[in-house]
Symmetry: C2
Subunit: 273 residues, 2 copies
DNA sequence: AAACGCTGTTTCAAATATAAAACAGCTTGT
DNA sequence: ACAAGCTGTTTTATATTTGAAACAGCGTTT
């Protein structure tokens, strides 16, 4: 009786699942910005797990430092243990270290907040950020997830996928909308992506959110695959975004080069493979 | 047959432990900066868990997005799922949001890297960082753990503990040494802490690491307890650290005030309670 | 004040995950 | 070429975890 899909998932890897572990992790994922602290009964109801089992799982999570009791109430919040895990992850990804100085320079050159994001399934996840000094700063923080098909950043990464891969990511043809510009179907998305792929960048105003414009360009590694994307965001209307396309593309290609990508290698573009 | 203590642990909370969950989390904790990718057999040996069990646990972790297969090898590395968890944690802690601008200003005023850290058991954990622009920048990243008794930051936080609480944190009298200045015993540490508590700050050169000096001051919340500490680090000898004590203490007290701490409230100092 | 609902915690039979063993595939050495 | 060792994966009896039920404690309500 496996329930709703977790984060992402390699296709067909659900053969041997340890319920204790799976459910413990589901409990952790119940906590977020909106609901930073929760009690055991609440979680039991939400996940459909018996009270006594949730009780034991949460006690284990507390023992391991991933949950902590909030003061004298019987509620829990995320423990500091999860923080260490998260940052071991960041440290283990080469690209984040290399990206930092590049994003800083891009931020200084443009005056805009710049970000590096990677894709996880249907989501874009921000992993490095260089915040603009101006009052207008982006609200995204490291770890923020946004729908890939509805963001410029996501589009330049999705553009690398073959039709088959894209259908694997989006199993349903219908796509949730976030603005008038969000494509409604996978087919419509495909058309947009083909344009992005040809241009090698994407730029748009108010694509995901009203009043915010963005330019994004893809980052490739030695194999030629797109593994991340860089963007800047700006207040829509206030500037002509197009002016900065070159800067963003330059930053992305600088990073790609550091990751051993050689455009002239004769590596064929991924999509035509 | 419970094994070595995990991260931290509320005393005596090990009654109901779910083995599947505990071992899965132990597996995650095997991954760190030094060993970013590991195979199942290696982990099985290290944790003393049967191969077939580790196999299933890791498959579950992969399914949940906390581990991912590295390319075509049979090894795994941390997955992007842990990142989200870590940042939900940061977002859930009020103090980190408030600290950021204060650390930025402290960095600008002093030219040094400044940090906010909290204590988890015997460890100091860095949660916010404002990196100096100078070439000499600190090597600590968010999530870094250092031994509390051997760092200035840790000392100002430990100074808040009663004798009994301190003995609870350090069950053995002997303390590991990291430099000539590290106290060797809990009693010696207590003496140092009493001085720190009285001064309200701590400053030292080469206390944890050769060539690095640090000044730290405690951050209190509305209850008067020390919940975090702020520090700056500088190259030892190059500057007279003492010069910046006021700046650091000011930053710490600014943050305390934003956390509802009122020095004149008649709240008695914690240690004399 | 009794009854009700909601907890946190414990118990114990029943359902389940576990771990030894075995298999197949792959490298290594001799 | 063979054996020996290492893997990833699967099987299956056994040992364990699970979850319904029950207990005790609390606050409300009637």
């Amino acid at each position: 009786m496996t329930k709703a899909l977790p984060f992402s998932s390699s296709p067909g890897a659900e053969r041997y699942i340890v319920p204790g572990l799976q459910r413990g992790l589901q409990i952790l994922r119940c906590f977020d910005r909106q609901r930073p602290q929760l009690g055991a009964p609440e979680i039991a109801r939400e996940l459909g797990i018996p009270r006594s089992t949730v009780f034991r799982l949460m006690q284990t999570l507390e023992y391991m430092g991933l949950l902590e009791k909030v003061d004298h109430s019987s509620e829990y919040r995320l423990g500091i243990g999860v923080l260490s895990l998260g940052f071991e992850y960041l440290a283990s990804i080469e690209v984040t270290e290399l990206a930092r100085p590049i994003l800083d320079r891009l931020r200084d050159e443009t005056g805009f907040s710049s970000h590096l994001a990677i894709r996880d399934g249907q989501d874009v996840v921000f992993v490095v950020k260089a915040a603009a000094k101006a009052a207008f700063a982006s609200s995204v923080t490291i770890g923020t997830r946004l729908p890939a098909h509805a963001t410029i950043l996501g589009r330049v990464m999705l553009a690398d996928l073959t039709d088959e891969e894209l259908r694997n990511v989006y199993t349903s043809e219908e796509l949730p909308r976030y603005s008038e510009q969000t494509p409604e179907t996978v087919s419509a998305l495909r058309t947009i992506l083909d344009g992005d792929a040809e241009r090698g960048y994407a730029v748009s105003a108010a694509y995901f959110e009203h009043g915010i414009g963005s330019i994004a360009a893809p980052v490739r590694d030695g194999s030629g695959r797109i593994i991340a994307a860089i963007n800047v965001i700006f207040q829509d209307g206030k500037v002509d975004g197009e002016t900065y396309i070159d800067r963003v593309m330059q930053a992305a290609s600088d990073l790609s080069r550091q990751l051993n990508y050689h455009p002239a290698d004769g590596k064929q573009e991924r999509r035509s493979a």
